[in-house]
Each structure stands twice: as structure tokens, then as C-alpha cells.
């Protein structure tokens, strides 16, 4: 059957097309198929990257098209790396990144572990838990803004009910100390299901026979967890950290919807700061250098992470 299939396909190829392809090597045909993808990749990914790199060495401002563009060398990089405002932005991003990753991994793994146990309504609970991930960040940002309202918000009411505090006495979004946590809570609520799904895939890939062998050796549940479950789910967990880490480093939509970077600049993460430099202050060259710094950071981190992931997988 498999031997006759190519013959049938060849016979089914229209005459003019077959005549045109005759004489082309397999390599040439492969290039014909791959070329459009390579061209698109170069046009959409590589060209803008090289263009941004070039702009980062100039003083270009796109809102002043008639002004001559000067080559300023490394001056943009020097200014960025000596700017205390950008340093604060990096710290805000680090705070956000650390806590979202820690909470999402902890809660996501726990949920996956619970869901992996067979119980009635297992599939229904999985669907319910996964729902937040399917919503648009714009929708999530809008309705959490309502939930965080001091007067009518459900979140404030629940916190007030549990702690005895007056619900209108605090505002998650307007308070300088609470605003970063407001974003961390929403991001954790939205993206923990993603981590849970990845962990669930890891847990379900562990053969039952390994646990049975451990039972025969009288290993306790605790020991089974630390010597079987955790090492075998680790590559999946690392993958989740990689995906969420890169995504959260670039976090933009939720923060804009919830706080817009405020109050003051407490929740101004790097992506919002970059957008302000590029499209509010119109410092195109400067913001290009800023983007290159962020790109190199994420690229470097992703490189060592992929290497670590391969090492864990090959164990």
C-alpha cells in the first residue's frame, strides 16, 4: 500500500505541474516549499530585530521625521544603564516575576497533584479550573478592577468578612503597598491553570509500575513523592517556569488594565516603561536600546534554561 501511494499521487498530479517539476532535485523541491516560511521569518522577526539594533545607536524620534538622524554610538545604552527610574522599573519587574512564578508553581503543582487523583467529577473540575486561562487579559483586567472596588468590590468584601476590616478602608489598586500584589493575585489566578496543565501532563506520564515497585520496597508516600514524583515532573515544571518567566517579563496588558503602572510608578514594569519611552515620549533610538537590553536578558536566560532542561531530560 505504502509503495503504491506515491505512484498514485504522481499519477494524480496534473500534467503541466508534473512537467514543470520534472528535472528538479529533491533538495530544490524542498527549498521551494521551505522558502516562503524562511522569507516570512526573516521579514517578520529578523529584519525588525536588526532594524531595532541599528536604531538603538541613533537619536531618532519618529515624531520628528524631518530632523536629521545622528549616530550616537553607545550613548543610549549609557543613559539607560545610569537611569535610576529604569532601575526601579527593573526592581518592580523582579518583584512581580518572583512572586508570580513562586505562587503559580506552588499552586499549579498542588492542583495538578489533586486533580491527578481519581475522583468523581474530575473532568468537570479540570474544566472549571482551566476557565480563567481562556479569557482575554482585557476582560480579566476589567472585571478584576470591579472586584477590587473598595465600595462594591467582592474581593474587598471577602477580605473584610474574613479579617473583620472595613472593606472600604483599603483599595488594592490605589494603595502604593497593595497595588503590586493586586497584579500578582490576578496573574496568578489567570495563569496557574496553565502551570497545572503542564504539571498534570508530567504526573500522568509517570508509569504506575514505578510506584508499585516502590510499594514493594516499602517506600513511604513521602519518600515516593520526593524520589519519584518530583524528579519525574521536574522537566515539566522547568518548562512551565520558562514559559511563564518569559511571558511575565514582558507582562503588559494586565498591568495596563488594572493600574496603568500606578499609583505613581509603583507597578510600572519594564514593558510599560518601554512603551512610554517609545510611544509617549517618542524617544525611538533610546527605546530601541532599551528593547535590545531586555532582549539580550531574556535570550541569555532562555539559553541557560533550555540547556538545564535538556540536562534534566537526559537524566
Amino acid at each position: 500500500m505504502s509503495r503504491t501511494s506515491p505512484d498514485r499521487v504522481a499519477r494524480a498530479t496534473p500534467g503541466p505541474v508534473a512537467r514543470r517539476l520534472t528535472g528538479l532535485s529533491d533538495r530544490a523541491i524542498a527549498w521551494i516549499f521551505v522558502a516562503p516560511t524562511i522569507f516570512l521569518l526573516l521579514a517578520i522577526n529578523i529584519f525588525p530585530l536588526i532594524w531595532t539594533l541599528r536604531l538603538s545607536f541613533t537619536n531618532m524620534r519618529v515624531n520628528r521625521p524631518n530632523e536629521p538622524v545622528e549616530w550616537v554610538g553607545l550613548r543610549n545604552y549609557q543613559r539607560i544603564l545610569n537611569d535610576s527610574g529604569i532601575w526601579e522599573t527593573m526592581q518592580a519587574t523582579a518583584h512581580f516575576l518572583f512572586w508570580t512564578l513562586a505562587l503559580q508553581i506552588l499552586i499549579g503543582f498542588t492542583l495538578a497533584w489533586l486533580i491527578n487523583r481519581k475522583f468523581r467529577g474530575n473532568d468537570l473540575w479540570t474544566t472549571i479550573i482551566v476557565l480563567p486561562m481562556m479569557l482575554s487579559p482585557a476582560v480579566v483586567g476589567n472585571f478584576w478592577t470591579f472586584l477590587y472596588q473598595p465600595q462594591i468590590g467582592l474581593f474587598n468584601y471577602v477580605v473584610g468578612f474574613l479579617s473583620g476590616a472595613d472593606p472600604s478602608s483599603f483599595s488594592m489598586i490605589a494603595d502604593v503597598r497593595l497595588a503590586p500584589w493586586a497584579i500578582i493575585i490576578v496573574d496568578t489566578w489567570m495563569w496557574t491553570p496553565f502551570v497545572m496543565l503542564i504539571c498534570l501532563a508530567g504526573l500522568r506520564s509517570i508509569p504506575e509500575s514505578i510506584y508499585e515497585a516502590a510499594e514493594c520496597d516499602r517506600a513511604s508516600k513521602w519518600r515516593q513523592f520526593w524520589t519519584i514524583t518530583v524528579p519525574m515532573v521536574l522537566p515539566f515544571l522547568m518548562l512551565a517556569v520558562l514559559f511563564r518567566g518569559i511571558e511575565n517579563f514582558k507582562m503588559f496588558d494586565l498591568v495596563v488594565q488594572l493600574t496603568g503602572g500606578g499609583p505613581g510608578n509603583t507597578t510600572e514594569v519594564t514593558s510599560i516603561n518601554l512603551k512610554r519611552e517609545a510611544f509617549e515620549k517618542w524617544r525611538t533610538g533610546y527605546s530601541s536600546a532599551y528593547a535590545i537590553i531586555l532582549f539580550v536578558t531574556v535570550f541569555g536566560l532562555a539559553s541557560i534554561y533550555v540547556k538545564a532542561l535538556n540536562k534534566v531530560k537526559s537524566r
Binding site: 545604552y77 544603564l81 545610569n82 532601575w87 526592581q91 523582579a94 541569555g300
Partner: protein, 62 residues
């Protein structure tokens, strides 16, 4: 430690990749730490050197 230095001298991949990884991690920590400004200023240079080193050394022999 001696093995590590010998590996570096013989241009082996593992120790060079380790060194590059340490530089990248150090650069990211310097970028995001809240303590000293000079560390923030030099963070990009350290990350950049680490990243370029990582790309080059990943082509070294095992």
C-alpha cells in the same frame, strides 16, 4: 576545580558553558537587584558577554 580550569584551557564545552551561564545569571541578578547602582550599570555588559560566550561555546567539542 583543577578539572574545571583544565577544561577551560583545553576549550571543552562543559566548563565554558558553565562559565557563560554563571555570567548570564550574575548579569540578570545585577540588573534586578535593589542595592547598588554600579551593579545595575554594568549588568548589561556582563549578560551580553555571557550570552555571546554561550553562543560561541555551545559549538565547542564535548
Amino acid at each position: 576545580m583543577t578539572n574545571f580550569i583544565n577544561g577551560l584551557l583545553r576549550l571543552k564545552r562543559a566548563p565554558w558553558e558553565m562559565l557563560a551561564s554563571i555570567l548570564i545569571a550574575l548579569g540578570v541578578v545585577m540588573l534586578m537587584q535593589p542595592f547598588v547602582m554600579w551593579a545595575f550599570t554594568w549588568s548589561f555588559m556582563v549578560t551580553f558577554v555571557g550570552t555571546v560566550m554561550f553562543i560561541i561555546t555551545s559549538h565547542f567539542p564535548e
